[in-house]
């Protein structure tokens, strides 16, 4: 866990890609879940942030 946080602080690609992937997955889940309407409303912005983050962090060093 501490290695993951250290990776985030040192702007390493792996942990940041993991965060972006989780955000995209969360956004897709929010878009399709049948439980709460606000989840659907905020799904697009979550996926968008995740996707843009993924594009940026994939240029970080390994």
């Amino acid at each position: 866990m501490s290695q993951f946080i250290q990776g985030l602080l040192r702007l390493k690609r792996g942990p940041w890609e993991m965060v972006a992937t989780l955000l995209i997955a969360l956004g897709v889940f929010m878009l399709m879940q049948p439980f709460v309407m606000w989840g659907f409303t905020y799904s697009f912005i979550t996926t968008l942030i995740g996707t843009v983050m993924f594009i940026i962090v994939s240029h970080f060093r390994e």
Binding site: E17, A20, T21, I24, A25, G27, V28, L31, M32, Q33, P34, M37, F40, T41, Y42, S43, F44, T47, L48, G50, T51, F54, I55, S58
Partner: protein
């Protein structure tokens, strides 16, 4: 001097052209070759995307080209993301995605595991199993429509044989409860072979010596399955899940042929709904915003897909 394709091409170049390109660098010549492709890519992919983003902020209607177009800011996005009907379409898509992927992975992996065993007629069975995948979705949709017919459909007769029900007592495509399952069954029938092929590639990439070492260590078959087979096939399985997820998120042709989105809107997946907004209601600006939302979702999933693909390549 030996004749190479390069010298042959050089000799075949007309003198007037040769004079013109003589002073060009290798980089410039490379750009001349790549240029048309880049131009086509920009014209066919990038420009429509940018134009769609632009339209998504307007109230443009393609069936009224003379009407003044107003910029409405994020209002289209706001309306879509607060529309309970679109939320229901998303749920119908989620139902379709979840069950097709689950069934395809379970059946596909089981088939791959069985096909991976050496037995007589192995190749013939593989060919028979992959046949549905090679058919056109329009053809598959049409003949499953016949199979689902309550009076003459083979599917109803098979279900009736096992359950003792009257074949004409239920209608797969006309019932609100059964229609979502009917499209799941057809998609699973058609695309399970694809998942099977990916799993088979994963299973065949596991070296035999790992199993031999496990045998020496007296690991049981069940232990070998959970500690060797599953972890080694997992990246391939994930690849199949993502690939099918992206494809089914955009599913259109098969469902249009089978149910046309009905009965009501129970099988109206997002792509069908989008087509209705764009080309039946002609709300182009609104449909553009809808398309951008779907595009960002598919793009996000595709990013994960590429990452998974690179992991598989590293192995």
């Amino acid at each position: 001097m030996t004749e190479t394709p390069l010298t042959h091409a050089a000799r075949a170049t007309p003198p007037s052209v040769a004079r013109k390109i003589k002073g060009l660098s290798d980089r410039a010549i490379a750009w001349i070759f790549v240029g048309p492709t880049i131009f086509l890519l920009l014209a066919i992919n990038i420009f429509p995307l940018i134009w769609t983003i632009n339209l998504s902020f307007t109230n443009f209607r393609a069936n009224r080209p003379g009407r003044e177009v107003d910029y409405v800011g994020l209002r289209n996005y706001e309306r879509i993301l607060n529309d309970s009907d679109i939320w229901l379409n998303m749920q119908a898509t989620a139902h379709f995605l979840f069950w097709t992927i689950l069934l395809q992975v379970l059946i596909g992996f089981t088939l791959a595991y069985l096909i991976n065993k050496k037995f007589k007629g192995n190749d013939l069975w593989t060919t028979i199993i992959v046949l549905p995948m090679m058919l056109s979705p329009a053809v598959v949709g049409n003949f499953w429509k016949f199979l689902y017919q309550p009076q003459i459909g083979l599917f109803n007769y098979i279900v009736a044989f096992f359950t003792g029900k009257d074949p004409s007592s239920f209608e797969m495509l006309g019932s609100v409860q059964l229609a979502p399952w009917s499209i799941v069954i057809v998609d699973t029938w058609m695309w399970t072979p694809f998942v099977m092929l990916i799993c088979l590639a994963g299973l065949r990439s596991i070296p035999d010596y790992i199993y031999e070492a496990a045998e020496i260590d007296r690991a049981s078959k069940l232990r070998q399955f959970f500690t060797i087979t599953i972890p080694m096939v997992l990246p391939f399985l994930m690849l199949a899940v993502l690939f099918r997820g992206i494809e089914n998120f955009k599913m259109f042709d098969l469902v249009v042929q089978l149910t046309g989105g009905g009965p009501g809107s129970t099988t109206e997946l997002t792509s069908i709904n989008l087509k209705r907004e764009a080309f039946e209601k002609w709300r182009t600006g609104y449909a553009s915003a809808y398309a951008i939302i779907l595009f960002v979702t598919v793009f996000g999933l595709a990013s994960i897909y590429v990452k998974a693909l690179n992991k598989v390549k590293e192995r």
